[in-house]
């Protein structure tokens, strides 16, 4: 029975949007599949890993009767990618197999019943709905998401802390040694809501958001957050846990202040990093009158030294950092200058954007 006939891209676009989260090998075989549903002239692809669910819709005036089927996400998207674009693809279902035809190619794929596909039950205890431009959220995420922990035993750090408070939306990410904070003003005011979103959700969201002014809607419920933008809807569970108090680690009394051209410092650090220890990634930062000196050495006793002139007149300081932590903030802050506020050799450094209250990045030093 013929299900559908469409141009390749009309199928591939929604499919590619959801395949990112689909695990290739899973104990529940259906989780390696994508749910393909046609309803009226709309085609919806849905993928899930039981934590996140992404649905992408394509309205292309599809004809024919409605259907729902699940098929291996990887194989189906590999097939579609491999056939020439502009090809007309026909989907047929015969005895629980999906036949994909294009030109002289023909593939018969196993299917599993659409009724068995697990969809997240929607949490209806809606607490807040935040609206903003997609590009604005993407930029905000870009400023902090790299600071999330990865596979940390403190599972609540493997994600992003999202807070609404008054007319502010705040995002916080930390791996326990460095912390990124970014906020933005919202047109309306909210009660205080706090959720931790899983790392995978954030990476996928960041990937799928476009740098455009079109709106993204964030529906925050007790146990679930929904992001809707363009043709995409992401439902994500939230991480159950208590995020550490980020306010407590923002240094208040750091007195060694300097402002530096971001790209200058970035280039100097990137060069020095060539000779940093691959395992510990340590860098020495030496502050003296008018100069910031960067020193790296590796196991083979090779050394790199960089100097950048800065307007600095405070007390001297010789302090160590994980160079990656510094590179991260320099790479991901698309601004001309950054302010650094150092304390003593055992205190964190605070990185901010000049005349901007909405961004803070804190790095703890390492002993070198």
């Amino acid at each position: 029975m013929q299900l559908l006939q469409a141009e390749r891209d009309a199928l591939l676009k929604p499919l590619a949007t959801v395949t990112g989260i689909v695990e290739r090998r899973h104990t529940l075989p259906i989780l390696s599949n994508v749910l393909i549903q046609k309803s009226g002239d709309m085609l919806t692809c849905t993928g899930t890993d039981l934590e996140i669910q992404i649905a992408a819709t394509q309205s292309e005036g599809f004809s024919g009767s409605d259907f729902a089927i699940t098929v291996s996400a990887k194989k189906f998207s590999d097939i579609l990618r491999a056939i020439p674009d502009k090809s007309v693809v026909t989907l047929e279902e015969n005895e629980s197999r999906l036949t994909v035809k294009a030109g002289k190619s023909r593939f018969a794929l196993q299917t599993l019943p659409a009724g068995d596909f697990p969809t997240l039950s929607v949490d209806t205890s809606l607490k807040a709905t935040v609206r903003m431009a997609q590009g604005q959220l993407k930029a905000l995420l870009g400023r902090v998401q790299y600071a999330m922990a990865h596979q940390d035993i403190r599972y609540y750090l493997n994600g992003l802390f999202l807070v609404t408070e008054g007319n502010l939306l705040k995002l916080v990410a930390t791996d326990g040694h460095r912390l990124g904070f970014a906020s933005t003003e919202l047109p309306t005011s909210f009660d205080k809501n706090e959720v931790i979103l899983p790392r995978k959700t954030i990476l996928e969201l960041y990937k799928l958001l476009q740098d455009v002014d079109d709106e993204v809607t964030i529906d925050i419920a007790s146990n679930q957050v929904k992001f809707s933008f363009g043709n995409v809807v992401i439902h994500s569970k939230v991480v159950d846990g208590k995020f550490p108090d980020y306010n407590r680690v923002i240094p208040q009394n750091n007195d060694k202040l300097l402002s530096i051209e971001r790209t200058l410092l970035l280039a100097a650090l990137q060069r020095a990093a060539i000779l940093s220890n691959e395992k510990f990634r340590g860098v020495r930062v030496v502050l003296t009158d008018g100069v910031i000196k960067i020193l790296c050495n590796n196991n083979e006793q090779e050394e790199a030294q960089e100097e950048v002139e800065v307007a600095y007149t405070g007390a001297p300081l010789d302090i160590g950092f994980n160079i990656q932590y510094l590179l991260d903030v320099l790479t991901n802050s698309q601004v001309e200058n950054l302010n650094f506020a150092f304390g003593d050799v055992n205190s964190s450094v605070l990185v901010t954007i000049p005349d901007n209250e909405h961004f803070k990045y804190i790095v703890m030093p390492m002993r070198i």
Partner: protein, 353 residues
């Protein structure tokens, strides 16, 4: 090559039984075993040397042990007392070196290469440790002293119980050829039989095979065999024994007849696992979920999958896939996790909190 390390392997003699005999001296001269009850399909954990004369050994089903020795005194485990004894033994070790790798409650490797005790003599250190265990804990221990872990472990078995044996670096070349290959690390009964079919029974036999031939025939095992049969073992003594896995299992008093019965039995087992996972203190991330099934006829199968967050439904799914392999009544179910290798260190950056 070996660079003059001094390793001691200390193994308490029939540890659980020794603790019981210390606390109840009247049990010293009767056959005694610690283990689960025969009517509950228990197995023997440890037995004393009197019981061993009847042919009883650890891991033997209790029912069989009782057939071999109807007068056997069988005691249930009292782990609190064993742990207490173990802690006191461990405290004695700590007086001699910080390089201690515990293998179980009653067994450990000590690296005393840099120890200044007893004028640096590992033999004297071992004798002193055994003496103190006898006096302070009230049980006996055996020790092996050798240039590496492999030989130390073999040596501790040599004069058991209540004895010790030294393999000096210059003795290794003479000692190895006579040694049965089955004594080596990683050689169980099945592997030993396989090696014997190739004429490899003693380490001397294996020494006649060139490395290429061993590897061609036995793969990685061959490479390990090539080194082990010459008494070479460079594995360090790890003092931070990193746990690789955690699991719980139950032998059922009555066989679980079918898959639904197994599925029902899985839930309490899973709860136990979760309780133990939350209780354990390591900074470890689960990496794989494992289900083990032992059927009525003692055949067994295990299945595992990559999974960061071991949830109940993952174990159910694994069970559903594994059970049909035997499709027989089940006497034992086990569930567990394997932990991921520790993530790369983040340098020594100080913590924010």
């Amino acid at each position: 090559m070996e660079t003059g390390r001094k390793i001691i392997h200390i193994d308490c003699d029939c540890f659980y039984a020794a603790v019981e005999m210390r606390d109840r001296p009247e049990l010293r001269d009767v056959p005694l075993a610690i283990g689960g009850r025969a009517d509950q399909r228990g197995v023997i954990s440890t037995c004393n040397y009197v019981a061993r004369r009847y042919g009883i050994h650890s891991a033997m089903p209790t029912s069989r042990a009782l057939r071999l020795c109807p007068t056997l005194t069988l005691l249930p485990h009292s782990f609190e007392r064993y742990r207490d004894a173990s802690r006191r033994v461990h405290a004695i070790f700590k007086g001699y070196t910080a390089h201690i790798q515990p293998l179980s409650l009653d067994e450990a490797y000590l690296d005393v290469s840099d120890s200044a005790h007893c004028k640096g003599s590992a033999t004297l250190i071992a004798a002193e440790i055994r003496d103190r265990i006898r006096q302070e804990v009230g049980i006996t221990a055996s020790a092996g002293i050798a240039p590496n872990k492999l030989l130390a472990k073999i040596a501790s078995d040599w004069n058991k119980p209540d004895g010790q044996f030294v393999i000096r670096p210059q003795d290794v070349a003479d000692f190895m050829p006579e040694l049965a290959i089955a004594k080596l690390w990683g050689i169980g009964r099945v592997t030993a039989e396989r090696l014997a079919r190739h004429g490899l029974v003693s380490c001397g036999d294996a020494q006649t095979w060139p490395l290429q031939r061993l590897v061609a025939e036995f793969g990685n095992l061959g490479a390990s065999l090539y080194r082990q049969c010459r008494g070479i073992d460079e594995r360090p003594v790890h003092n931070d024994g990193v746990r690789k896995s955690l699991s719980v299992e139950t032998t059922y008093v009555e066989d679980l007849p079918d898959l639904p019965a197994c599925a029902a039995a899985l839930a309490p087992l899973y709860d136990d696992l979760v309780a133990r996972l939350t209780g354990h203190d390591g900074e470890l991330m689960p990496h794989k979920a494992v289900v083990k099934i032992k059927y009525r006829d003692f055949t067994q199968t295990t299945i595992e999958c990559v999974c960061r967050e071991p949830r109940g439904d993952v174990y159910q799914a694994l069970l559903e896939r594994a059970w049909p392999r035997g499709a027989k009544p089940v006497r034992l179910l086990g569930v567990g996790v394997r932990f991921a290798d520790l993530p790369a260190p983040q340098g020594d950056s100080l913590p924010l909190w």
